[in-house]
Amino acid sequence: MLILCALITVFGIGTMQAQRAKISTVTVTGQVVDENGQPMPGIVVKSWVTQAKAITDLQGNFSVDVARELADKVAVDAKGYNTAVVGVTPGKSAMDPVVMVKTKTFDSKNLVELPYRTFTNDRVTSSVYTVTGEELTSFPSSILLEALAGRIPGLVINVNSTTPGQETATAYLRGAAVNTYIDGIMRDITGLSTAEVEKVQVIRDYSGRGALGLSGSGPVLWITTKKGTPYNKTVSVTAEMGMRTPTSLPKYVDSYDYADLLNEALVNDGLEARYSEADLAKYQSHSDLIKFPDIDYYGSYLTKSSPFRKANLNFSGGDDRVSYYSMFDYVGNQGLESVGDQIKNDQYKLRGNVDIRLNDYMRLGVNIAGSYQKQKFPNSGSGAGVYNVFDILSTYPSNAHPTYFQDKLIRSDDYPINLDNELLYSGFGESTVINAQNNAKLMVDLNSVVKGLTMTANASFDVYNNIITSKGGTAALYRLQTGALGTDTAVRVVEALNVAAMSLGNFNVLRRNAAYLSANYDREFGKSLLSVDLGYYMALEEMKVVADDYQPAKMQDLALRANYAFDGKYIAQLDLSYSGSGRMPQGERFSLYPTLGLAWIASNEGFLKDNSAVDYLKVFASAGIMGINDYGLSGYNPFYLTETLWRLNGTWRPGISGNNGTTVNNYNIVQAGTTGFVLPKKRIINIGTQGELFGRSISFEVNYFNEKNYDKISNLAASTPTIIGSTQFLPAVNFGEDVRWGIDGMVQYSKSVGDFNFSLGANAMYMRAKYLVVDEPDALEDYKKLAGKDMDLFWMYQADGLYQDAGEITSSGITQSWGAVQPGDVRYVDYNGDDVIDEYDIHSTGAHAPRFFYGVNLSAGYKGFNLTVLGQGVANGDVMLSSSRYFWVNGTKQNYSELMLDRFPVTNNYPRLTTLSLNNYQNSTFWLGNAAYFRLRNVELSYTLPAAVSSRMAMTNFRVFARGTNLFVLSELKKYSVDPERINAGITGYPIFKTVTLGVSCKF
């Protein structure tokens, strides 16, 4: 990597100097100022033709060599400001001041990209929030979504898997899963690198995304990739390397404690203890580690940390006719296995974005991106997949069996896996993912035909391929057996199996074609501005896998948007989407969905215009309705709701065929056809305000949202008795309503004092969701009904501590229906008062999932030093500890976590141990934990060399940085040694990582 960097540097410098030599130059002077006219010192100014560079002095003044005869331009780039490119008038020796505009504010002239059009902020009636790609690069991760956590009000990122190369995250905005659009096309975000992202916008309401039609029914992450800035040639290289360590790993007891705890559990159950005093002594003394092993599984099979590497190289530039951006990106990470080969993951990404002016009327944009990901991993025993060591690490007690006896791999009947065998002799798998996203876009200026009319045509072709090959195998496995004379022998129970060849595990191809056509019309009539957009979008997504076939998903949407602004103060926008769904019967496929948006730029009113406190203030509201095309009704084939489906379904075996009957396939209705239904719908109301105050030092936005889902598709299975036969016989109808409402917002304060500048901000969302109309039986008692209740409630028993003694049990007079209870068992509240604890006592106890989500950020700079800090958290909610077997230890084949040392009667923290009773392992308030946490998500500390110094090294910018993610977390759950973000991390799968990297970035 370093060699590559060096080569590029040499190449870059070489070409620049070669060009410079041929051109006759002249020196011009100028000044760089900010929006308030304040001079900006230490800024690099570059000439396009001559490639000469200059640095502004304390007064912001510069003098730079430009081409004498050609129309040269200078480009000015400053962190936190939009790049400015200014033409130089030949023959003039002094330029007009270059005014730099800050990025990421709600300034009226800031650009908001919406489907089919880019608006200035003062025309937008929707709530759209923007994060620049620049901000995201400080997060060292192999997936982009992870970097968004805590940065956008209302956006919650759930990282589902952290297995290297298999990282997945899901983004939810205001509780709904988001769709990602990249350069105007709905696309998979997998493989997108933070470096290539220009900006990420969240479009929250239908005034912003109604034009997308049905595909915009869910929240949209609207991502644009970088483009070259004309007359600003940039080459930049970034490389970082670091280590990742688990944020937490569970703690399990050693074999002595395990044996002791299991004995206690058995005795509690009235059974014989499994280990004698002599056995326990041997576990303690470690005198016979073959028969009395004590394996620290986590310590033996995991390394403390694994490396992380990331590098990025990009070229951009161009002129009026052609501008280009190209990038090469690499991310590599590794697993934690310390035996055998670790999981290895390498991802490569290449992008080329070119913008060509074909003639005065036409421009062509071509975006080509390809990614290649290669993984190698220990193979899972069944099927092709990554071997999940954590599953064994967390379930095998320290005394399960020795790993080796006389060089033979040992397993036992109860614990049949030997991890050395799995990691060393059981083969491996390889996965290759190849992903290409291509699109071409033609923009035609039709001003000469119809004044103010432009048209855009865009076509995209994406492919996504994944192929997994693997091979299995095993070494011979032995069981330890003690012979008559007390000597140990190893008896072979599994024969060695060598697999010579790789076999195909999984292979799939996905193609996604999309095309859109838009006509954009813009006119100004006096104080009125009118913009009308007409868009047509069609898309096809087709998946091919080896074993099955998929119905392609298709979209066809027509949208009309009319945006009218009067006097720079009053804005009204109407969106009409005429959108089709292939899931509706022919003739009923298309429906019209309207959205109305209004905005008022209060700061342009006379009474605020000259107010020094208010720089910008906008109040906006929108209400819209959209259909939902992707209604998941379990058991139904969502494409053919209209058809009664008869299919092969089950077999039976009459007759005689060998030792069996003859298999005969059966037909059955798998879905009852239905007519007279409409697409389910969602109605979103958003009311918000945003602005900038006190000399643009404070920016803020607050939104109230209310989203109602109605006309949901249901087959009323829950309110239909079983006697009907089966839910598959029930036709679907429109039934069901729920509502989600809340508030989200952000505030940011920025300030500069001399060389010191800082910015401090916070964003938050509070959200509630409620069932309004639910498919549930009428006869259900009120406390069992969902309607009118919050959707995030946990339904369970109310626990009332642990029974302390036999007296309490008898005096309670209540039967708990999981067998006889003992002191140390959880006591439940008899909610319905029938003296029996059973299903009727399950109710909503008020506990619920988190409802408050927030992020805080801090950025501070002093001279070349810069610190950015991002924190993220959730609050006001609970987590069910019972969802982790770390807390819920029952049965005889489970490992005991160290938490179990605190069981009854030692403390009242956990119930008595048992191998039989189910009493304690019911979802109840006993197992509730506080889900709140605050996590230091991301920190970057950097130092940028003064421009004067870096320019001597032929660079416009040279920066070294240290970055970290997940450095610490505050949470009540920490005391359990689990990660509050995902309590099963490190137990059922890979842990969450803390990453620390060091890196360098240079620009030429």
Partner: protein, 582 residues
Amino acid sequence: MKKILFLFIALAFLFQGCEEYLDKVQESTGMADEQVFTDYNNFRKFEDRMYKDMHDYLADYDYSFIAALCDEGYTESDWETMPIVQTGNWLKAYSTAQALQFSAPWAAWQSIRIANIVLQKLPMLEGNATQDQMDQIEGQALFMRAWYYYEFLKRQGGMPYLEVPLQGTDDFALPRLSYDETAQKIAADCEKAADLLPEAWDIANLGRPTKGAAMALKASTLLFNASPTNNTTNDQAKWTQAAQAAWDLIAFSESTGTYKLIPSKGTDQVTYLSPAGTQTITYPSGFDSIFMYTPYNDEIIWEFYGRVNASKYSTFTVASLSPGGIIQGFSPSQNIVDMFETDNGLRITDDSSYDPQNPYVNRDPRFYQTILFNRERWTSGTGIHMEFFNGGRDRASGAFKHYSYTGYLSRKFWAKNVDRWSNATPPPTHSIYFRYAEILLMYAEAANEIGGPGYTLPGATMTSVQALNKVRERSQMPPVAAAYLGSKEAFRERIKNERAIELYLEGKRFFDLSRWGDASKLVHKEIYGADFVADASQPTGYTISKTVQPVYTLVFEPRQYRWPIPLADAMMFKEFKQNPGW
């Protein structure tokens, strides 16, 4: 602006024309009603779907789970099902995914619907099938509807009797019929089915219900209906109805020769280790061939021969004998072992020649065919002898599951010389729903309830005790001793005993104990095993005693005679009542 609007409207119209773009691309494998119901083969493929639900809950291993809910034995299962159902928390069992014995029969409502759709759509087949074919389809649908109602009857009791498929707009709030009303509806369906169904099927269709199956189902239903739990007033008419239904089938069988008891042929032997050396016991062979080797044999009235029986190996064996894959180790109870008479035809407590320290000799031949005992050789292909003695390899202790808890294993469904050590192919075994011996026992039971052991139903040619003795005779057991024929009550106890050992592990006893009202008695709730303490002076080399404590004590309250209705259904309509106590 106008231009734009016009363009929009024009495009919208254009869309109506090109909305074919949204048509489906890949044809589904779905078929239309017409294709299914006007074609004989397709029609049958739909109808046959109604057999599947039954197979989902009546596989071989399910019988052992049902067995472990009564005194037939004990199982320690890896599945969470058994602890739940054994502790009587049957309501919970419905929401436990693995408790198929509970949730799967309830799911059979879908097969009732299929049967009703079949009956409703049958006219569509007219012209495309012969009258015989139509009759066969109708007969099977009526039979299977009756069968599933019979399964509900045995478990939850009376149900609304649906004879047409309910539509989404129908009133679902149907009241439950009484037990008797439901039983009579089942009997009526069986009568109609018996008229339509063939006496036997050709080879390819073996396994479908026959006329005899319909008659057996009717007899069994009516026997349940007459039994004490469901006939609290001891209405004699119900017993007469039951006896008549059983006799009808016996008479039909005797006149046509359709069903026979498989006779004993030749001898078989078991060997076991004792201080005096290897002992051999010879006994009449043949009983085992009802269950293995020959499917659809003369004794079987209705069975399922579709199940690959490898699962039986992991069900009835123990971990020490079959490494890996053990679902449970089923342990027959001492309660059952003690019910096997001596070969003099006497209860062990009544036979002075019986030595409790030498209990394996001179027993009912079915003992050797049913029970694997301590030190018995484990299949002839290996030198392995069972170690059920205390501390033995095959005996459960402490938390070691999947070993014998009682000192016995089941041999009933084990073919000779087959086990996982020898890697031999599992033999054909099958799940039997009705066999001829049970019909004889049904007649014996009902006739005894009417007039005692010597009673002959008018029109019949057999007394109660004669019918029972036929079953004993097949196993070369002497007739019931005169000492047991003194009263209806004394003989009733022997009928119960005969059913227990003849039909052991065939999924019958649990329901028998329920209908007799016996299951909630302590004697049937406490499941005992035997202790074997080494003592070379004893004939077997062990001092044998019944375990001091029960191996397991089932929770069985009177409410358990009627299984709970799953909560979701019980809470849906007031008319559809939950059973008392749940």
